[in-house]
Structure formats: structure tokens, C-alpha cells
């Protein structure tokens, strides 16, 4: 979900060429949808979107697999922005990999388009689904069949600057009411320019904050227009009005919000565990810590997840499944995840989270919400709609009720209800 400005630049450049190559696929004729190693050459092609440095531990794990089993694995890195498009193009051109590491919320879409295989038979025989956090496992389910196996997980928590909160004389907020008061107090005291920083930029990325607030109020994405959504919009409106949250968060992506936190401009920030390393590297002298997200009607966080899937028509499906099983062994995860800076998707890997800061994120995984089923299929559009409601309310062009109702109508239409 994170999309840095430079990556957005790459998207802009790629969009044009993608339009051309997609056009060449042949939507009107019969597609092929076969695999580049359909014959089953015994070499497992593995596509992922981990650029440096994240790809290093993954490729090390794959190399270890080859060492242990003698099965050759060919990893290939494709940038996140191009990943889905490349899969789509290759599906039409007959060049799918044996294994693709995909954004969990795209599982349904890719399964529906016939790009990835039904893994139910393998998964049933394996029988380890109870070891997984439910929300994460559900992201791999499409119409009762298993299409994706959770690879790892991440979720959102509250980063806070200990000095700034102390200077403003406030405690770490545990409820959203406390958050509103604390954010305003920080801004008033001058301990930092703003109390809270989060992304609110145009598009799905900027909807994370408002979605988290809505989840805490007891709502969710598909029913955003209900009372919880209205309460969430009003809560954020109060924070921008008090100066606790900068009006500029509507122009910030997640990296911008984190930059505001690391340079001391914002006393608190909402982000995922993957930002821990960034803060440690960029602000070694900052006194900071992490707390669970504030609660309201419920405690909730948003799950950011990835799934392992097998490309449609793979000739090495059995061997590919063996690799997926191997990668998900607790002993392998304990070694791999700390290096990868992420959390386990299953609850039986205590050794994977030894860092106390990351443990805060891991402890929240049981409360993690993720879009599933029909909501997952349309989550990008629904999140885009929710961000627009947020923008309308913060800029004062609509009341929370109006914006929520309009968003609900748009979400219903997107989901074809």
C-alpha cells in the first residue's frame, strides 16, 4: 500500500507502455493462460516485488532451500507498481511463474481472472490453516477455495515521540477521545508542530487513517456510510480543526507522514512495522516508542498482508507447493522474518518477534481486520472513495453525514449491490 513519490513516478512512466502491451494481449480472442515452464522443467520460477534490501533475506531463504533439497529456484524481482500488470500480461502471453508472491487483497481478482491456481487440495492435505491468524488466512480464500497461502503479515500501530508527549504533559492515548485531546495539547504547547501525522493523500493509500478510525468505531469498509464512518470523519475533522492533525496530511503519503515524525514535526504517527527500521536509521537520537492504536468502540488494526500463490498452468505445481510449505515452517520463519523486518502470518512462531517494538505490532495481529470476499475484490476502489469522503469533510465542502452517505452509495455501486 505504500507508494513513495519516486515509485509513483515509475508508475507514471510505466502506465503508457502498459497500456500498449495490455492491448496486445488479445481480450477479444481466446486467451492462453499457460505457464512458461508448463512442460515442468523442474526449475521453480519465483516472482516477488521485494526491491533492495527486502529481497536479500527472501533470496537467501530460497538459496537455502536449493541447498537443502537440490531443487533449483529462479527468483525474479518485479517492482510493486508493475507486479500485477506484469502478471496480467504474462498470463495472456503464457509466461506465468510457478510461484508469485502477491498483495493479499489481489488474490480474489487474480483467482477470478484465472491467473493463479486453486490450492485447496494441497492446503487440505497440509492441514495447517488453524495455525494462521484468521483475517490473514481469509485473504487467500476465494468462494470457499484456497488460492493464496499467507506469506507474512504487518499491521498498523501508533508511533510516539516520548519527549514531545512529556513536554506537552500528555500520556500516550489509548482511546481516540484521548488522541484528539493529546494531539491538540501537543500542537498548543508547541512541543511539536502537530500532534498526529498520517497519510491522507488522494487514492487508496490515503484511506488507511480514516479506515483505522472507522474500524475502531465499530464499522468497516463495505459499510463505511454507517454511524461509525460518520463518527470517524467527525473525529478527524475535529483534529484538523484543533491543529492536532495538519491539514496537509491530505497531501502526505505514508513516507511523508513518517518524515514528519522522524524530523520531530509531528509527535505521533500511524504506520506499519515496516517503518521501524526507517525511524531507527533516520532518527537515531529520537526518544520514541510504539503503542497499540487507540481504541474506540473496539480495538482494531488494519492487516497488510502478502500471499504465496501458484501460477495458473504451472507444470511444476507439486514442487512449487513443496517450496511454499517449506517457507512457512516456523523454523524457517524464525530465521527469515527478523531479517525481513516483518511479522509472521501464523501464531505459532514466537521466535520470529524478539524485538520489543515489533512485539507491539505482533500483539495486535489478533485484532487485525482485512477486506475479504467481495470487499477485497473492490477494496482499492472502495478505499479511494473513502479517501474522497475524508477530503470533502476536512476541506469543509461536505458534512460528515453527507460525505459518508455519498461514499456509501459509491461503494455499493462499485460492489454491484
Amino acid at each position: 500500500m505504500t507508494r513513495a513519490p519516486l515509485r509513483r513516478a515509475a508508475t507514471a512512466a510505466a502506465a503508457g507502455t502498459a497500456a500498449l502491451s495490455l492491448a496486445a494481449c488479445g481480450a477479444f480472442g481466446g486467451g492462453t493462460g499457460t505457464d512458461e515452464s508448463a512442460a515442468g522443467d523442474g526449475v521453480i520460477t519465483f516472482w516477488h516485488y521485494y526491491g533492495d534490501p527486502h529481497g536479500v533475506p527472501l533470496e537467501a531463504a530460497l538459496a537455502q532451500y536449493t541447498e537443502e533439497t537440490g531443487v533449483e529456484v529462479e527468483p525474479r524481482f518485479i517492482p510493486f507498481e508493475d507486479f500485477s500488470r506484469t502478471l496480467q500480461q504474462q498470463a495472456a502471453a503464457g509466461g506465468l511463474p510457478d510461484i508469485a508472491l502477491i498483495n493479499a487483497y489481489e488474490t480474489g481478482q487474480l483467482a477470478g481472472a484465472g491467473i493463479i491456481e486453486d490450492l485447496s487440495a494441497y492446503a487440505d492435505e497440509w492441514g495447517q490453516q488453524d495455525a494462521y491468524y484468521e483475517a490473514g488466512w481469509e485473504t487467500g480464500q476465494v468462494d470457499g477455495a484456497t488460492y493464496g497461502i499467507p506469506h507474512l503479515a504487518d499491521d498498523y500501530a501508533l508511533y510516539y515521540n516520548e519527549d514531545a508527549l512529556a513536554e506537552a504533559g500528555v500520556e500516550v492515548p489509548t482511546t481516540w477521545d484521548e488522541m484528539e485531546a493529546a494531539a491538540a495539547a501537543v500542537a498548543d504547547s508547541g512541543a511539536a508542530s502537530y500532534g498526529l501525522a498520517m497519510s491522507g493523500i488522494e487514492g487508496a493509500e490515503g484511506a488507511t487513517g480514516i479506515l483505522l478510525r472507522t474500524l475502531a468505531a465499530g464499522g468497516d469498509l463495505a459499510g463505511f456510510g454507517g454511524e461509525a464512518g460518520v463518527a470517524a470523519l467527525e473525529s478527524i475533522q475535529r483534529m484538523t480543526a484543533s491543529g492536532g492533525l495538519s491539514e496537509g496530511f491530505l497531501t502526505w503519503n505514508e513516507d511523508d507522514a513518517m518524515a514528519a515524525f522522524t524530523n520531530g514535526e509531528a509527535a505521533m504517527a500511524i504506520n506499519s512495522a515496516s517503518a521501524v527500521t526507517v525511524v531507527r536509521e533516520n532518527a537515531p537520537d529520537l526518544a520514541w516508542n510504539v503503542a497499540p492504536l487507540p481504541a474506540d468502540a473496539t480495538e482494531a488494526t488494519f492487516l497488510s498482508a502478502e500471499n504465496l500463490a501458484i501460477g495458473a498452468g504451472s507444470g511444476d505445481a507439486d514442487a512449487a507447493w513443496d517450496l511454499i510449505e517449506w517457507l512457512q515452517q516456523p523454523s524457517v520463519l524464525e530465521e527469515y522474518l527478523p531479517e525481513r523486518n516483518k511479522l509472521p502470518a501464523r501464531s505459532d512462531v514466537p521466535g520470529a518477534v524478539t524485538d520489543p517494538v515489533r512485539a507491539v505490532f505482533a500483539d495486535q495481529l489478533v485484532n487485525a481486520w482485512a477486506p475479504t470476499g467481495e470487499t477485497a475484490l473492490h477494496s482499492t476502489e472502495a478505499l479511494t472513495i473513502v479517501q474522497q469522503a475524508l477530503q470533502a469533510v476536512v476541506s469543509g465542502s461536505a458534512t460528515a453525514e453527507e460525505a459518508a452517505a455519498e461514499a456509501q452509495a459509491a461503494i455499493d455501486e462499485a460492489m454491484g449491490r
Binding site: 477479444f28 484465472g114 470533502a392 476541506s395
Partner: protein
């Protein structure tokens, strides 16, 4: 495209063909062979995707159809669907406002620069080269620089305004609908103005000096000279410049996508941004094709109008 080159007087005599029929065939075949690579290239990279994209707008195409084929013909349903959507027309409206404002500003700045650089002065060539940098600079660079300049907290613009005491606290230019539109218009005009400048400067060179001499003798003020000589004489070049800048701006995607991603609240979501979201964010390739087809029709219509006007002027 085949242009017959008349034989030059000093050209060596052509080899005499051994047979009449073979010679004619070769004469007919040669131009075709020479143009074939260009025709094939343009056909494969421009005509085919273009027609394909237009064709897509008459089918029901989601991700599944792109991968597996079997798209259903739906006639004009996609057009009916899009034309009934306020969001589509919002984007169209944003596109028109953005394009007209950008073209006007680009033309004004371009003309101003062309006039300024018309008279020789020390450092003129250096200045001209520097101005051209704005045009040559990749949009990825310029759009992000604009984003930083206009940032509410640490942007240069606000730092200056604060120093002058004009604003107090943070002002997020790209977070407000009106200001965001103005910002993308300005950024676009900034990068296209040097291009307009080059065209207009060439046009200025072509105005006969004697017209100005005659006007000066008659005692015309500089303003009257500009109004009654420069502008009318510059008309053909101006029209061409306006048309070209219009086409560039109307289809411009990267500046806006990088600066605002179409925000805030869709205030800068032009048709290209709309089409991008439809196709690559929401996987609705059919309705995206409706938007791109409209994107194509408008400049084509304007171009036809321009060429007709040009022919009329020439015939008159």
C-alpha cells in the same frame, strides 16, 4: 508518403533497364520498399494500439477478459454508462479548465519571453538556453520539485511568504482544490512555455522589419506596433503554437499524477488521470477506453478545424 525526387541535371544517367516490364515494376516497388519500414513501424506502434483501444470501448472488458479472452460486444453501453456519470463529466470539466488555463498561461509566458529575447543583449543566448532547461527537464524531476516547493510545512514558497509576513503558519497549496488547480496549471505552463517561446520567436523573425520602420515613421507607439503589426503577423504561428500546446496539455498525465494524483477530492483529476484509475486501479479497461477515446477525439476535432482554417486562409 512516397515523394518522387526529380532527377537532377548533373545526376549520372540511370542504368538502362534490360526489360520494359521489369523496370516499371521496380520503379513501382522501390518507393513501397523504402516506405515499408516506416509504415510497418507506425502501424504496429501507433495505428494498431489506437484502433485496439477504440475497439475495447465497445466490449465488456475486465481483468478476466484481458487474460482469458472472450470479451462480449456491448455496443455503445460503455459510452452510455460513462456519459451518464457525473464523475466522468467532472473529469472532462477539470480537463477543459486545466487545458484552457495552461494553454493561455503558456502562450502568454512564451510570447513574453520571445519578445524579451528578440532584441540582442549581453547574455541573451545563455538566458535562452537556461529557459529551455524547463522544457528539457524530465517531468519526474520538475513535478517533484514543484511538490517540494509548494509543501505547506517546509516548502520554499511558504518560507518566503512567511518571511514577508504574508502568511502565518502552514498553508497547504496542493491540499486545497482551487490552489491545487492553479499549481498544476502553473507547473504545466512553466514547462511548456519555452516550447511556445521557440515557435513564437521563429514567427517574430519572419515579420518584415520594414513594417516596423513604416510604423515608426508614421509615429506609431510601441503598443500600437505590437497590437497592429506583431499580433496580426504572428497569427499563423500563434495558431499552430496554441494547437500544439493544447494537444500536449490535454493529454498530459505525469505532471498532475506526480503532483497531486488527481487530488484533492478529484479537483485535478483530468481525463487522463480518470482513465488511468479506471484501467489500472479498478481494472475496468472498457470504460477506461471510453475516456481515452474522448481524449483522442477532442484534439483530432481541433486539428481538423485548424487545418480547415489554414486552407481557407491560404485560398483567400
Amino acid at each position: 508518403m512516397a515523394v518522387a525526387v526529380p532527377p537532377r541535371a548533373d545526376a549520372p544517367p540511370r542504368p538502362v533497364p534490360t526489360g520494359r516490364g521489369r523496370g516499371r515494376a521496380r520503379r513501382l516497388l522501390a518507393p513501397l520498399l523504402f516506405t515499408a519500414p516506416a509504415v510497418l513501424f507506425v502501424g504496429a506502434t501507433v495505428v494498431y494500439p489506437l484502433l485496439y483501444s477504440v475497439l475495447q470501448s465497445f466490449f465488456d472488458i475486465g481483468l478476466r477478459e484481458v487474460v482469458q479472452g472472450g470479451a462480449q460486444w456491448v455496443g455503445l453501453d460503455n459510452y452510455a454508462d460513462q456519459f451518464a456519470r457525473p464523475r466522468f463529466w467532472d473529469s472532462f470539466g477539470v480537463s477543459v479548465v486545466y487545458t484552457v488555463a495552461s494553454v493561455a498561461l503558456t502562450f502568454a509566458i512564451g510570447l513574453g519571453l520571445a519578445l524579451l529575447l528578440r532584441r540582442p543583449f549581453r547574455g541573451r543566448d545563455v538566458l535562452r538556453a537556461l529557459i529551455l532547461v524547463a522544457w528539457v527537464l524530465p517531468t519526474v524531476v520538475s513535478a517533484n520539485v514543484w511538490r517540494w516547493l509548494l509543501d505547506g510545512s517546509y516548502g520554499l514558497l511558504n518560507a518566503m511568504l512567511r518571511a514577508l509576513g504574508l502568511i502565518d503558519g502552514d498553508l497547504f497549496w496542493l491540499g486545497r482544490p482551487g490552489a491545487a488547480v492553479a499549481a498544476v496549471v502553473f507547473a504545466t505552463a512553466w514547462s511548456f512555455a519555452p516550447f511556445a517561446m521557440i515557435l513564437l520567436a521563429a514567427g517574430l523573425e519572419g515579420i518584415p522589419k520594414r513594417l516596423y520602420e513604416a510604423a515608426r515613421i508614421d509615429g506609431a507607439s510601441p503598443w500600437r506596433q505590437f497590437r497592429h503589426i506583431t499580433l496580426p503577423q504572428l497569427r499563423p504561428v500563434s495558431l499552430a503554437a496554441l494547437l500544439l500546446v493544447f494537444i500536449y496539455t490535454f493529454k498530459n498525465f505525469d505532471t498532475i499524477f506526480l503532483m497531486t494524483a488527481g487530488g484533492p477530492g478529484g479537483a485535478t483529476a483530468t481525463l487522463p488521470v480518470y482513465a488511468y484509475n479506471e484501467a489500472f486501479e479498478f481494472s475496468r479497461f472498457d470504460t477506461a477506453s471510453v475516456a481515452t477515446t474522448v481524449l483522442m477525439i477532442v484534439p483530432i476535432a481541433l486539428s481538423l478545424f485548424y487545418f480547415r482554417a489554414l486552407r481557407k486562409e491560404r485560398d483567400a
